[in-house]
Symmetry: C2
Subunit: 342 residues, 2 copies
């Protein structure tokens, strides 16, 4: 088969222990020996076997990432941040695409455990009971990113969705909009769905605006559900001058549907997105949106993971990522205060 440490040892006329020490830069060898060995390694084209290494040492320098969907701007941006810092720290990353299916993610967890990952980053949906138990039984550290567990105290890095939605809504309000429609995520999504809904409602309330339930609709964060959302809103025959969509994809969906219907954004309708993925930048017109620092969140997640690993799981500190409104072209300052739009 391939060249092993033994071959190198034999070729250089030393023991395998010496070769190992030289490869790993541990003390205990002479200058001449080192040269000899290095030359043998070069000549034979030796590559250490990380599997064998992983067996004796107890680390594999590998982390697993669970994503509900790897295509899509959101997840892939996150993944990129994760991969980049992981590599910088000398780790490789396994991607697992759970497709929001519980059985899949349970299978993934199992596989990752068998493959002895040093840690896991969970960016999938809410935890089911079974998943939670599996995660708890995990021997490696786990951090959540862009989600969290309400039932289990796993550390997470995440923006404050409630606050972000509150701020976004306030922003729309200060721009003179009063009848604001809301397109949320799944209502039973306690992590990404509900808090944004709450933040929206609270901001409206705090500004003395009534909530019109006909202007509250819900989708699944994807493009098509944004289109559908606007259709529903229009069907409600209730005036509104702005819509706050809970994801950029949905926001772009409303842009698309508005275009189909001949509604001009931002003149007739203001649209605010959430995420600040590339979709926002590429949209026509460019989408004003609430930014989540996805790449940075990915970075933070692996940093946190590694820290926990070193500290042997002490202090579980969560990280609140900063949200921010990035203004582009879909929200205008509105002069007349009443929504005149059906």
């Amino acid at each position: 088969m391939s060249i092993t440490i033994k071959d190198v040892a034999k070729h250089a006329g030393v023991s395998i222990a010496t070769v190992s020490r030289i490869v790993n830069n541990q003390p205990g060898f002479g200058k001449k020996t080192k040269e000899k060995v290095l030359k043998s390694i070069e000549e034979l084209g030796y590559t250490p076997n990380a599997i064998a290494r992983g067996l004796v040492g107890r680390e594999t320098r590998t982390i697993g990432v669970l994503l509900p969907k790897v295509s899509g701007l959101f997840a892939s941006k996150l993944l990129e941040g994760i991969e980049t810092t992981a590599r910088k720290e000398g780790y490789s990353v396994f991607v697992c695409h759970t497709d929001s299916k519980e059985d899949r993610s349970i299978q993934d967890l199992q596989v990752l455990k068998e493959k002895q990952v040093d840690g896991m980053i969970y960016a999938s949906d809410q935890l089911s009971l079974a998943q939670g138990q599996l995660l708890e039984a995990m021997t490696c550290p786990i951090v959540f990113v862009s989600t969290q567990s309400l039932t289990h105290p796993f550390p997470y890095v995440k923006v404050d969705d409630y606050q972000a939605a509150y701020d976004g809504t306030s922003y729309l309000l200060t721009k003179g909009h009063e009848q604001i429609a809301f397109i949320g995520g799944e209502q039973d999504d306690l992590i990404a769905g509900k808090p944004r809904d709450k933040g929206f409602r609270q901001a409206m309330k705090d500004h003395g605006m009534p909530i019109n339930e006909a202007l509250m609709v819900y989708g699944d964060f994807r493009f098509q559900s944004g289109k559908k959302g606007l259709r529903q809103l229009l069907a409600a025959k209730t005036p509104f001058s702005a819509v706050f969509a809970s994801s950029d994809e949905m926001a772009v969906g409303v842009l698309s549907e508005a275009y189909d219907k001949g509604i001009s954004v931002p003149k007739d309708l203001a649209v605010l997105g959430y995420d600040n993925t590339m979709a926002a930048e590429m949209a026509i017109p460019p989408l004003t949106t609430i930014a989540q620092p996805l790449d940075d969140m990915g970075k933070q997640a692996v940093t946190l993971l590694l820290t926990i690993r070193e500290n042997r799981g002490k202090a579980i500190s969560n990280i609140e990522a900063e949200h921010e409104i990035v203004e582009r072209k879909t929200v205008l300052l509105r002069k007349n205060t009443k929504g005149l739009f059906y």
Copy 2:
């Protein structure tokens, strides 16, 4: 530490060989023993250690994927296809984000080799000499996807870019466009850049249309370079009624720039994209584009990889993926034959 096969053996009062056989469903144990062992496994919560397994058997059930950029619709769609079929076949996938940097990808190759992957899928850019040598020295099978190596005979799965560009151009021509601008990829990109350029030129030629070099500009497949591309085209002061962009992102860039400039698509200008990523679907107006079956290509790539692995590297057969024009809203049948547009 954690529960090993030894613990199970002791607990069940059998030898580790027996446990191994039962876990792996190999013959050589009685019904009662099986039950006993299964119960012990259950009780102790035993999970096999894939690392140890990988050391003795010679497979790790792991493949590596090298991508130039993991964020972005193109790569992530491909990755999704790869992950999905890999998992179906019982493999995990390492993602490596080379960022089109040669040193990074060389490092990745090294790491993947050390981690003993069973195969690699290369979807990054063109090969440098050093990379090619490294790949050749690899003991595991390698397949290229959506790219290929001109210098090394690695199997690939890929659409015929020349033909696809030829067909796309012909499509525009049959729609009545005569002055067609072209926004290509890097001109020195012999894989994704040049062939599309050639296909475009040949189609024009075959239809008796002259090529105006002022209408040939080049970008890097990204959104911003699409915007810039249209700006350059406009600056050339040469009439054209359609633009063929070599990627959806660039096409959306021209849509965006056209919007800024008040140019109406498709009325004043037709736009044809390439890839059929979600960006095409989400664009305003929805983008007519040449589809690459990205998810299927990912699937084919792992299937091919696994086949080669089984056949011990015999027959290296390439796979031509089918391209197809998907008509949406950015190309209209044009009545007057002359491009009237500056």
